[in-house]
Amino acid sequence: MPQHGDSDSRSAVDILIASDRVPANARPDLLTENDIWALLEEVKDPEVPAVSVVELGIVRAVRWDGKTLSIDVTPTYSGCPATELIEELIAEAMRAAGFRDPEINQVLTPAWTTDWITDEGKEKLRAFGIAPPEGSSSKMSLLGESDVIACPHCGSKDTERVSEFGSTACKALYRCKECLEPFDYFKCI
């Protein structure tokens, strides 16, 4: 992965093979849980590379007792196809930092909500061209109209929903009537 100083010119297979090797000079015993959270900030969501798995709120817990590293991860949607890849990317980043057998656990409770996306994460989503979730997930109405969504490109609130679903399950498709650009909206759940 580039953020660990690897060259971009290597093939995916080389990187995968290398990722299974723990660097000889690594000293994970010197790292604290805070250091591990900082390492996780470098692991990006494969579908939305603008934000890290920490900013998305899908890393729920990190436990490191000097011998065993255990990380809890929660999926955004039940069928999110990126879940396994994210778990693998996290394990890979941990091995690169010297952790021999990182345990990645999938937890369903409490269920992920868009409220867990950090403010910084929401800003990064907007800068990336994805309108961040508006309001609290608890307000999601069953049959009512959705909230006003501001265009991430021009900021106009004159937007319309094109489809309840966008390029991934976690997004809806919108169109700005001001700048006429289509955009993804990260749905509130």
Binding site: Y77, S78, P81, L108, T109, A111, S163, F165, A169, K187
Partner: protein, 254 residues
Amino acid sequence: MTQAEALKEYLLRLADSDMILGQRLSELCGKAPALEEELALMNVALDLIGQARNWYEYAAELIDDGRDADKLAFRRDAHDFRNLLLTEQPNEDYAVTMGRQFFFDAWHYFTLKSLTGSSDERIASIAAKAVKEATYHLRRSSEWVKRLGDGTEESHRRMQDAVDILWRFTGELITPDDTDRVMAEAGIGPNPDQLAEDWRGMVNEVLTQATLTPGAEDAWMYMGGKHGEHTEHLGFILAEMQFLQRAYPDATTW
């Protein structure tokens, strides 16, 4: 029937209904009437298949005979499937596709909502995740039923036809059997009377707004999916869905 037996049966019903409807919707990949609709249908299918996996994994642990979620989905035959008959009905036109989805989503939403309070913690946690997705599904399918029902003369006619065609499979959603009763008594599954009331309330409200007429409450209903007695459609679905795992058992490279 013991509670342990009923629980395994109940989990397979939840899993199989999600799986079969997910597979049915996936048939529309590349064939949906509009790009936005295709995105939506495939995302709904993905949600359902993801939920199916969560139910299958729990079922596999309880069945405990060496089979995992994949084997339960891809190596059982039609008579072992416990999905609702509604979920295996063909896509036909878009009115039938969305009508089927609406009747299912209304059942799914109230079932999952109730399961979030299940005395079985694993079920409650899977349902808490799934109900958020089902809420979106129901909102979307009910909008389509209203749009088509209260649309043009042609769309109204087709949507009413869809309701009439599908109605005979809806009784199964809200008619409890022994398994449902054992689950309800154990505080694991929903109260059947409440589920039926909620489902009817939602269906009547949406169909009324859509200027559509529901079928009769005492209409003759096809039932049996929950016991492995299926319509002729399921075998064809499985033939396609299970082909790869039947031809190349345990294939893990994709």
